[in-house]
Symmetry: C2
Subunit: 330 residues, 2 copies
C-alpha cells in the first residue's frame, strides 16, 4: 500500500509538474533569458550586423555567425579579412550565453570579452578597437543611441562589446521538440528519437554533453580514449594555460541546433552528423556504434533544433563625410 | 475675373489633389508596388540572403546589396569570390525595379536577368547556375517551398531568379520627406532644401535625374561637357552594343537614398555628396557651383531618403548530407 501511494504520487508529479521530469535528466530545457536590457539589445543587434566594425567594411559579426543559418557560417573554418582562412571552425553564437567561457579554448571569459576579439584579429575583421570606435562614434545616429542606451556621452569599445553581448544573450533557441518532451509532451519525440536519447545517455555522451546547452560547460580532451587525427594545429586550452595537461583540451561544443551547425568539431572535419557521432564514439568513448544505433542518436540530436531567434532586420545609420572610410584592398 | 477664377481653381486643386502638384514636377513620388506574388517574395527573400548560392558558401546577394545599409556595400568596388576586387561600384538594389535595365551598362533587361549574373560571375559569387540549382534543390524545405510557390515540382535557375526578382520588386523606399512635399505636405522640406531643388532643376540636373527613381531611366555619357578622369576601365553601354557612340554611356543612377549609397559614380571615386555634386556640375553641366549652392543641392538630395524595407530576417533551411559542400579556399 505504501508503495502504491508513492507510485500514485509519482504519476501525479509527472503529470502536473513536468519540470520534475526534466530535473531528473542530464539535459535541461532552455528558458527565455531574464533581466535583459532591451535598449542594449537593439543597439547590439545593429552593431552585430554592422560591417563597418571591420577594416574592409565588408565583414560583420553576422558574416561568420549567420543568424539566417545556425549562428555560424557552415564552413570548415571561417573566411576573414582578405579571404584569410581561419584556423578553427566558427562556433555558433546560438545559446553561446550558456558556455562557461567563449572560443574553443575558452580564452574569453564571457560574451562581452569575446565580442572584442574578432574585430581586432588581423585574420578576421582586421580592424582595431580604436578604428572601430572612431567609425561608430562619427555617426550621429549611433552617438545618440549610445547616449540614450548607456545614459552617458561617448562611444568606446566597452560599450560596443557590452551591447553586442547583450544582444547575443537573447540568441537562445527554446521550444525544441526535445525540450517539449522534457517538459512533459510525451509524443513530442518519436520512439527512434527516444531510443537514440537512451543510447546517448547509456553510452556516456552525457558525461560531457549535458546541462541546458547539452555541452559548453566543460573542457575535454579531443581523443580521450583513442587519438584524434587531424591536420588542424589548434592546441586547445593549452594555448591559454600553457599546461601540458591542457593540450587538445577543447570546450565541449553545445549540441543545441546541431542539425544547423555543420560541419563539426574544432577542425570542421566531420561533414555530417553520422560521421560526427561515429567519430565521437570512437575517439571519446572507444565504442563502435551499429548503423542503427548511429541513426537513432542522429535522430535524437535533430530533436535539439529549437526556435531560432526571429527579429526585424536591423536598419543601420549611414556614415557621414567624416567617417573613416573602409579599406578593403590595401 | 477669369484669371482669379483660374487662380482659385488652382489653389483648390493644390489643396485637395496633391498628386496634381507632383505631376507638374520632373520627379514623381514612389508608390507601393502592386501585383506582387507574396509567396515568391518570401522565397526570394530567403534566396537573397542565402550564401549557398555562392561557391564559397559565404557570399549572398545581401553581401553586396546590404539591406541593413542602403542596398549596397558602400565600397568603391565590391569584394567577390576569393576577395576579388570588382570592376565597378555596386549599384543599390533599392528601387532598382524602376530602372530601364540592370547593371551600369544595362546588360540585363530586368531584375530577373540581373539576379543570375553575380551567381555565375567568377569574380563575384563564383558559382555556376548548375551548382546553385543542385544545392538549393538538395534541401527538402526549399523543394517544398518551390513546389508550393510555383505549383510544380523542381527547382531551376529560372524559378530561383524569378523569386529573387519578385522580392527585389518590393525593395522600394516610399515616404521620403521629398515625396511628402511632392504630395502636398508643404513643410516637409526646409527652405534650404527647396532652394536646392530649384537649383537642381534650373541647373539641368533633372534632364537626366527625373521620374520616380530620380534617374535610372536613361543612359548618358559620363563627361558630357567636360571629360571625366578615372582609372576605372569600364566602358559603359559600349560593352553591350559595341557602338562607338556608346563609349562611357552609363545608366543614370537613381538618386533615391543617395545619402545611404556612398561612394558615388560607376568608379566609386566620389566619397561624399559634396564631391559628387561638384563633379557632376563640372563634367555634365560645365557649371561651377558656389559652396552655398552645392550645400543646398546636397541638402535637397538628402530629402530623397525614404523608408527602408522592414522585414523579419529570413530563417534558412539547413543543408542535408547530400547537399554539395561549399568550396571557399580552392
Amino acid at each position: 500500500m505504501k508503495k502504491r501511494s508513492i507510485f500514485l504520487l509519482s504519476s501525479i508529479a509527472l503529470t502536473l509538474t513536468p519540470l520534475v521530469l526534466a530535473s531528473n535528466e542530464p539535459i535541461q530545457p532552455i528558458k527565455a533569458p531574464k533581466g535583459i536590457n532591451t535598449a542594449q539589445v537593439e543597439l547590439g543587434k545593429k552593431l552585430f550586423f554592422d560591417p563597418r566594425l571591420s577594416k574592409s567594411g565588408f565583414i560583420s559579426c553576422n558574416s561568420c555567425h549567420n543568424l539566417s543559418m545556425g549562428g555560424t557560417d557552415n564552413l570548415k573554418s571561417s573566411i576573414g579579412h582578405h579571404w584569410n582562412q581561419g584556423p578553427i571552425n566558427s562556433p555558433t553564437v546560438l545559446n553561446a550565453t550558456f558556455n562557461l567561457a567563449q572560443f574553443w579554448d575558452g580564452r574569453a571569459k564571457d560574451l562581452k570579452e569575446q565580442a572584442g576579439g574578432p574585430i581586432a584579429n588581423p585574420g578576421e575583421m582586421g580592424s582595431t578597437h580604436e578604428l572601430a570606435v572612431e567609425i561608430i562614434k562619427s555617426i550621429p545616429a549611433y552617438q545618440q543611441e549610445f547616449k540614450k542606451t548607456f545614459g552617458s556621452d561617448g562611444v568606446d569599445i566597452d560599450k560596443i562589446t557590452q551591447a553586442i553581448a547583450e544582444f547575443e544573450k537573447t540568441l537562445v533557441t527554446p521550444n525544441s521538440r526535445f525540450d517539449q518532451w522534457l517538459t512533459g509532451k510525451k509524443d513530442a519525440i518519436s520512439d527512434q528519437e527516444k531510443a537514440g536519447y537512451q543510447l546517448f545517455k547509456s553510452s556516456g555522451c552525457t558525461a560531457c554533453h549535458n546541462g541546458v546547452a547539452v555541452g559548453g560547460n566543460s573542457y575535454q580532451k579531443m581523443g580521450a580514449v583513442n587519438p584524434y587525427k587531424t591536420d588542424n594545429k589548434a592546441e586547445g586550452r593549452f594555448t591559454v594555460t600553457k599546461k601540458d595537461a591542457d593540450k587538445l583540451m577543447f570546450k565541449v561544443p553545445t549540441l543545441r541546433n546541431i542539425e544547423l551547425t555543420y560541419p563539426y568539431f574544432h577542425d570542421g572535419n566531420a561533414a555530417t552528423l553520422t560521421e560526427a557521432v561515429n567519430t565521437m564514439g570512437d575517439v571519446q568513448l572507444g565504442k563502435k556504434f551499429s548503423k542503427d544505433e548511429t541513426a537513432s542518436i542522429v535522430a535524437f540530436l535533430k530533436t535539439l533544433t529549437g526556435d531560432r531567434p526571429s527579429f526585424t532586420m536591423p536598419i543601420l545609420p549611414p556614415s557621414v563625410d567624416s567617417t573613416p572610410k573602409p579599406v578593403p584592398f590595401k
